[in-house]
Symmetry: C2
Subunit: 364 residues, 2 copies
């Protein structure tokens, strides 16, 4: 790939343009908001000059509602050899392109993709060539997708140092409904229960609810777009969850009974649900995309002064131990905190000994 | 308080006994499992010798099902001046004590409490005097509770360096249903959806679902006990959540409609839910028990070698910046990672500059 056209210079478009430019690809930038395109160019993402001919690859990174229309216009103009989009739901663009009467021969040169990169901010100023590093980037070729276009996409993904995952478009949309869209709404619904809760109750929030509701703080506008593009699979999953929720209520009501036999049945039902949850949680991949490693956790008490964490990590480094994960537990109304260090099981006792030796107070 | 009797030398009983002993209180330890009591004594939590008379304070730290029976026996024996339990649900013990025909005059000397301390392991060997530091410790005096017993409890909480919170027993049980028991079951239900999911779908799990399902890995036995003691309030909350879930399904189905007016209504409904979630999330207290501070996040790319985190924290420490929270984002199939550092807004730009200067690659 030597030339590319990036349409839409927000966070995603500008980030991938930066990665391509860094690898020597000539990138032409277009955005309905010409200021955004100029900003992206000034950051080194490419040029706002028109390509003046057919480019190797056109990448459409516009808001979901404009993806199909933009692709259709580019295809009609024969703007590129291959065409990609980066929208977070894949069924829509293809269906719309077909509905717009796109020539099937040209449609072979379109490939739907979805880089699963985090976004805390938006716009070209938030862009970075490293945005996609290590994240999955889903490619959804149809049966007749041009192999050359698939290879262009793989080249783009490699330039961005992402991890390509090939999936059927429908399977992708079901998968993100399961692992992203449904959990988002459930987190929202749990957090919504706190909206009018008593202050005293809210004071008792611990790390559990803090984790469950973290993503409930997400930007509504972004999530309306995402959910609007994938409502069916998400609704189906919430329906299934609703059945399990009904079962949870049923067995909890049995636990309220005065009859020991009914209470026992309730306890069994609760256990069944909790064990299914254990089994599902065990499937969530940990670091490096592997099955979750059984890390050991070491809890260290720290004061809230600058440098305390640095000293812990320096001491762990000196002991030659790699910290796989860190969690800081927040103390209520106090300056002290608890740091949970996750390490490989074989490293745990050595690290604990090294930290104790250096005067850290460990919690068993 | 000069003498105490701790009945039940598991994690909680042994931990508070260690804290009391450290403050010069003579602590007598009893457990149905005499080995557990001896282990606690050998750790310095007190003595297994019988008090040989009335102690100042008896603390019952036995499994929930045995709390009321143990308290009733102690009250009958006039074993102490004041009596506490530490069970995680408060309505049950008092109701059972009344049902057991406890003399109301003696019942005034019982106070139900709940230390909200984390427990990853159990048993006396996991105990530490610091277990309760900075955590809320709920005290639930009844209208006629002896003030002297309340003061004994406040002294115990102070010795354990916990933060006392006085609440009505019923309000406590509703509050923990809301901020702990309901979120636990919801996390379980989301994780359960993954139990039989396709491998490819599970590979796409990101930090969002990882956070939502973290507590789904909890020990079923512990949660059966907790939920059995508080089934009514939890079931009521799940019922209310179920109604919101039904509303979520309804508005998602509208988004599937071919009619623009219905789709617009669906989008409005989704936005309403997302905004309620935003509002609820904003109430979850952050560190130091305050309302959540608006920290700024700085994202730093690191390799997976030992010492990388140490270098970051050392560099932050040198810049005089206190890291309020850390989150490591796991990259799929790659050795590189992304570390999110949360810092006070006024410290953010200085830290970013200091880290860049020292060669770190920051993600905007």
């Amino acid at each position: 790939m030597r030339t590319a056209l990036v349409v839409g210079t927000g966070l995603i478009g500008t980030s991938l343009a930066l990665a391509l430019t860094r690898r020597g690809v000539t990138v032409h930038l277009v955005d309905q908001d010409t200021d955004a395109a100029r900003t992206a160019a000034s950051l080194g993402a490419g040029t706002t000059e028109s390509p003046g001919g057919t480019v190797d690859l056109a990448i459409v990174a516009v808001p979901p509602a404009y993806v199909a229309g933009t692709l259709a216009a580019l295809l009609r103009a024969d703007a590129a050899h291959g065409y990609l989009d980066v929208a977070s739901v894949k069924g829509g663009p293809r269906r719309e392109l077909e509905a717009l009467g796109t020539d099937p021969e040209r449609l072979r040169r379109y490939l739907g993709t979805h880089p699963m990169a985090g976004r805390e901010r938006s716009g070209p100023l938030a862009a970075t060539a490293e945005l996609f590093e290590g994240s999955p980037w889903v490619l959804t070729p149809a049966r007749d997708t041009d192999t050359e276009v698939l290879n262009q996409a793989l080249e783009l993904v490699a330039h961005c140092r992402a991890v390509p995952v090939v999936m059927d478009g429908g399977a992708h949309d079901s998968a993100v409904a399961l692992v992203s869209h449904m959990p988002q709404l459930v987190s929202t619904l749990v957090a919504a229960r706190l909206e009018h809760a008593d202050d005293t109750a809210v004071r008792l929030c611990g790390q559990g609810i803090r984790d469950v509701t973290r993503i409930a703080g997400s930007d509504p506008a972004m999530w309306i777009d995402i959910l609007s593009a994938n409502p069916g699979p998400v609704a189906d999953l919430l329906d299934a969850l609703g059945e399990d929720l009904g079962e949870a209520v049923r067995v909890l009501r049995l636990l309220e009974s005065a009859e020991p036999a009914r209470r026992a049945e309730g306890a069994q039902g609760v256990e069944r649900l909790l064990r299914r949850g254990n089994a599902g949680r065990a499937r969530v991949p940990g670091k490096h995309g592997s099955t979750p490693a059984a890390y050991e956790t070491i809890a260290v008490l720290i004061s809230d002064r600058p440098g305390e964490l640095a000293r812990i990590f320096a001491d762990a480094g000196r002991a030659g131990v790699n910290i796989e994960d860190v969690r800081i537990e927040h103390a209520t109304g106090q300056q002290a905190g608890l740091v949970q260090l996750s390490v490989a099981p074989e490293a745990a006792s050595g690290l604990a000994a090294a930290l104790r030796e250096r005067g850290w107070s460990l919690r068993a």
